[in-house]
Amino acid sequence: MVLLQRPHILLLLIGTHQFLQCWIAFGSVNEEGQKQAEFSEELLLKPLPDHKLLAHFHFQSSGPPSTSNGCHHHLFPKAISQLVQKFRIKEMELSFTKGRWNYESWGGFDPLSSSNAKPPGVELWAVFDVPQHHIDASWKNLTHTLSGLFCASINFLESTATYSTPEWSFPPASGNVRYGTLPCEAVCTENLTPWLKLLPCRDKAGIALLLDRPSLYRGFYHSQQLHLTSTGSSSEGIDSGIILEQTLTVVLQPNSEMAIEVHASEKHIQPSWSLSSIFGKQVSGRCVLAKPSSVYLLLDRGLSAANGLTSENFWSNPSFELSANPDRIFLEESSSHSKSLSILYMFQVEKYCESEPFDIGLMWKVPVAWLCQQTPLHASRFLMGSGNERAAIAISLKSTQFTEGFMSANSKDGSCELRVDVFQVVPWYVKVYFHSLRVFVDQQPRAVSDIIEKIHVSPSKDKMSPGVMEVVLKLPCRVNTAALTIEFDKGFLRIDEYLPDANQGFDIPSAIISFPNFHASMVFLEDDSLNKSPLLSKFQEKCPVMSYTEVLLVPLTTPDFSMPYNVITITCTVFALYFGSVLNVLQRSVAEEERFLKAKAAKKTGRLPLLLSKLSAKLRGSGINQN
């Protein structure tokens, strides 16, 4: 069926493309100054220090203002624009992630990792442009809509017990933000297909052709995101449309057979790779609707320093070989943090066609070892304690090589402080005692008020709302380790509140550790043609450095799931026993009582106290008299 249909789709695509081009040309003449619907596709490849390769797909569609052409859309997905219009979304981000971003070896201090490293499972946050009391209703509707759009159980975020309202520690905080995560959501190809449907060429042409499912899901990390920014607001009258960014970040292990064959003795050599060896496919030309369609190869600061690349010799590099000639090479603007600069090789897909498909390969000649730039403090989170009654969460921050450099740079002025924001959401069945918050700096307990500058807590309500803790830490720059611990009691749930696999445990969503004093950005020295690339202009934006901690798995005590009937019947029997026997004692008639006493007295004599024996003797006497 697909084979039969393909020619039609191609024909249709070509037809649309030609029509669109005419239309765009026409439009640009007529409606100058008005933004047009645009689409761009970009792929960024970045070798990682631990022999892996990062591939970052970036598709951006910008929708025209809704007033300019009614509800007709040429490029922009209609479903998304309806979503934005209906729920009045200012900004929204939805991510589906599998695997965990390895901050230690993949870096955490560049725009790529701080905006694309996401917690496992589904994360959704949205900023609404509606009055405060309508936000929750909008959020509920939004979760249901997205759940239908992406074939995921996002609708579980509907209940108030699963989402939270960050006050100030969550970076895009602007009051109307709602934040929710589903850490245990399984991400698979059924979530990718609807995501691809939003692209004008789907995965039939252009860079998206590389998205081969088996090779994608074989990766170590896989994060698929959807970021919406709507600058339009009907109240102000300024309407610049919607920008939809779809990114897919994968970390893959290149097939290193080739390298092993060549340099069997050299274990440290980076694996050589090519697009076709990683994805099993090649790019046969661009998606005809995409304006810039380009592939980038990024060598980050550490790598270019290890290679001895400087601004002079980056054209002729001795340590590796590219299979295709880059069209442009960008150098990063020198920054204060480090001497070495990142280098970006750009390849334009437009030049290639089906007969001559685009395939870029990188062949290492000499072993290279480098380190990615890391976050100021490496954050990890773990559980303490044993048993199923109570435990404690510990968030530990360890200094990295970056902090050392930062510290040496700032050590001249004595009072150097490092600000760290911690945002932690816990589900209601993790009953946190906020008064038990302890802070350790360099393994020494410190007074909470010394280190914590600001704290905002919203305690969890049973089955109503999760517990939210937002803390601002002021740590001295010379800190080696810092730790926050907080105790909690494990809650007990009703049997129907447990997940199907209850003994597996429950997930505590990742904590967000952000460093508001640091901003990750990469500014590349370039002429004005750079403005056309949405990916590079996104790199230029200053985004705060943040990292997610691990998801914690908390085992909770389970009741016996097979017992409801037994428990109900036994408990009710005991209650009936109580009720019946007390009433019986109270109601027993006097005659019956006397008979009872007589019988008892006849039976035992030894243990009875003196009084009772007297009494029974008397009773026996009276009984005989009566008879």
């Binding site: 008064h435 807590v457 009741p559 017992m563 109900i568 408990t571 007390v582 106290p609 009494l615």
Partner: protein, 448 residues
């Protein structure tokens, strides 16, 4: 329990009191943390000091103490005990005060009992010299009971709740009406269930601590053919009851105003009622305790939840009237039975509640001397209090046991309490019957 009582009589009372206080202090300042405060037997969601500390912390950081589902106690307790959360001397003092009040009430009761025997001319027939000093015994049972010690050392608020109940009974017995009203209001405010103690308190105030049934008295004197009006027991007098109602109203307004002031900026009184009384009545917290309701409501189908909530709470209310009718001439015993029933059927029972009714049981050593199954009950209490922590440990900490094992001990415990209540009531009714038989029966037979 019964055996202990009989032994204690000969010992010096004050030695035992000091010994129990010293024992508590040793346990409190024990170098190793006994972790009693986190035991499910000691700290329920209502009485846990840890939750109180959390509520205090929330209040200190300008949030409502009821903001999370952590604290469910009184706001007054928060402002009284909040600053002292580390200091457990408060509960030791509360225990000692309760014991002294129990002793005073017990002596009161004993005098009243003797007086009523005298008025029935039974003093010669029942050997009064054999009577034990029930006040001393009750106080010692209360002080030396391991349950009381554990509740006191384990930092829970139940010693304070118990003190309020005992204060109420003491006030009613010694006719200190404002004190009785205060105790009743505070006890009801702290934990909802003592509200039903208003019935014994009314009987206590209306008829006195131990008045023989009027009918019995008349019977007695009809036989003798002399009717001495002055010796007749007083009729039910409404004066003190109205006085009590007035004071109770006054105190409750006072308490509510105080609560209102302390919660003014945090949602007011409605918030307090919702998260204290509402929390008690809806059994929201399903963490294990020594009662049976937690597991029941964890397992029961959501559809029937409200039905069973009503059934279980009405079970307490249903028994009030029949018991009040049969035991109206012994209001203190009625209070004991009510306390025992509440501690058995309440949503979040702890050993502190058991400590209270076991202490009150000491008042009636003489009357309950021929109670059945006392050895069995004693062994049962010992067995359950040893087995229950073991089962809890197996289930929660080792993960080798199952919830059902722990629930089974809770079930046995509930059954033991049922047997205690049933046998206690039956023994008391038998005792009354014995007195009646002594009156109506042939005196010469009884003397021989």
């Amino acid at each position: 329990m019964e055996k202990v009582k009989k032994k204690i009589g000969s010992f010096s009372f004050w030695n035992w009191v000091t010994a129990s206080i010293i024992f508590r202090l040793i346990l409190i300042y024990f170098p190793k943390n006994l972790n009693l405060s986190s035991r499910p037997e000691v700290s329920t969601p209502l009485t846990s000091f840890r939750r109180l500390a959390e509520g205090y912390w929330l209040k200190q950081s300008f949030m409502s103490p009821y903001a999370g589902s952590m604290y469910h106690g009184s706001p007054l307790l928060l402002s009284l005990l909040g600053p002292l959360t580390i200091n457990s001397l408060v509960s030791v003092i509360a225990d000692v005060v309760s014991a002294m009040l129990i002793r005073a009430t017990g002596q009161n009761l004993r005098l009243a009992y003797l007086r009523s025997l005298e008025s029935l001319d039974l003093v010669k027939q029942i050997e009064v010299s054999e009577f034990l000093f029930s006040g001393d015994i009750a106080a010692l049972i209360y002080l030396c009971n391991p349950f009381t010690i554990v509740a006191c050392v384990g930092l829970s608020t139940s010693p304070i709740e118990n003190m309020a109940v005992i204060l109420c009974l003491y006030g009613a017995c010694s006719r200190l009406i404002p004190l009785a009203a205060f105790g009743w209001v505070i006890a009801t405010h702290l934990s909802l269930y003592p509200a039903i103690l208003i019935i014994p308190v009314i009987f206590l105030l209306g008829c006195g601590p131990d008045s023989p049934p009027r009918k019995l008295f008349l019977q007695r004197h009809q036989q003798k053919e002399v009717l001495n009006q002055s010796k007749l027991p007083p009729r039910f007098s409404w004066g003190p009851v109205i006085h009590f109602a007035f004071w109770a109203f006054l105190w409750s307004v006072y308490v509510l105003v105080l609560c209102g002031i302390s919660l003014k900026q945090f949602g007011g009184l409605w918030e307090m009622f919702k998260s204290t009384y509402g929390f008690i009545l809806t059994v929201e917290d399903l963490s294990p305790n020594i009662g049976v309701l937690w597991y029941f409501f964890a397992e029961v189908f959501e559809f029937f939840r409200n039905f069973f909530l009503i059934v279980f709470h009405v079970n307490i209310l249903f028994m009030i009237l029949p018991l009040a009718i049969r035991l109206r001439h012994r209001p203190c015993y009625l209070a004991f039975v009510y306390v025992a029933i509440c501690s058995m059927l309440k949503s979040y029972p702890s050993v502190g509640d058991s400590a209270l009714y076991l202490g009150l049981l000491g008042w009636f050593v003489n009357e309950l001397a021929d109670m059945q199954f006392s050895l069995f009950l004693f062994c049962g209490y010992v067995g359950v209090s040893l087995l229950s922590p073991v089962m809890h440990n197996l289930w929660i900490w080792r993960g080798t046991g199952n919830a059902n094992f722990y629930f089974a001990t809770a079930m046995v415990y509930a059954c033991l309490q049922i047997v205690l209540v049933v046998e206690g009531v039956s023994a008391m009714l038998n005792h009354d019957r014995k007195l009646r038989n002594l009156i109506t029966g042939k005196p010469q037979d009884a003397k021989s």
